[in-house]
Assembly symmetry: C2
Homo-oligomer: 149 residues x 2
């Protein structure tokens, strides 16, 4: 089973049509080594498709993100970025604000948090954000990398 077929399966499972556009977005994104902006993804898509609108890219990225197929990056600049992470299961990310590399963290405090919220606050957790912003090893050696964002 190649990537396109497995992506089609994923979309079908979410009751989303396996359109050329959606498969192309997943193909591009899964080939990226770093998180990418909607416009960057759009520019790459235009090379392989006759026509593709930027609003379509926004819509597809949001759909896939809402369904957990891709990850939305919370960038300090507040611009939107997305990343495809093959790692199944709930986890969080260390992102490099300089070169945009994404690395998995094997840590999540969701249990402790859930306990505290439900016990002390009697509230209901809908979602949680845990993201570490920093510089990856190569970037932390470069002087001035921190100014790049």
């Amino acid at each position: 089973m190649n990537n396109n077929e497995s992506f089609a399966e994923i979309l079908k499972g979410l009751q989303l049509k396996a359109t050329t556009r959606r498969l192309a977005v997943l193909s591009i994104l899964s080939g990226e080594q770093a998180y990418a902006s909607p416009e960057e993804i759009w520019k790459k898509l235009k090379r392989k498709l006759n026509t593709i609108g930027l609003p379509t890219v926004y819509r597809i990225l949001e759909e896939l993100s809402d369904n957990g197929v891709i990850t939305k990056i919370i960038h300090p600049s507040r611009q939107l970025y997305y990343y495809y992470c093959g790692n199944a299961g709930h986890h969080h990310h260390f992102i490099c604000v300089s070169c945009r590399k994404v690395e998995d963290l094997n840590f999540c405090a969701s249990r402790e948090i859930e306990n505290e919220v439900s016990r002390n606050l009697k509230g209901r957790v809908l979602s949680h954000i845990l993201q570490i912003n920093g510089l990856c090893e190569p970037c932390s050696r470069k002087k001035g990398a921190i100014n790049a964002f």
Copy 2:
């Protein structure tokens, strides 16, 4: 020492002038029970000051947030919100996406994360986000509250 005086001290410590505008922003924000948007804060400021520009509000909020005096809320809608939290020391928040209440969490995984990043990834942590989005106790009882944001 009243609030204004202590806020002036804080600003002085940050080498920021204790201007009428900055003190007014802190006064408004410290009286809020919920996180507020720049425009909402601006509207309240206009009631107590002759003139105040919206760009000024944005600038002051960002300054105070950068210096850790107030907290920036990472809202699912990606709009900017700020909150004044009197609780000194590093901590994180549970926010209600319906009524905008903010509650403190006594939990932060920064040590574990720092260890994992520096040991496994050899990277450098610049900042981390940990925020729990949900519904507070009263809102979780109301039907339809989840649709309010």
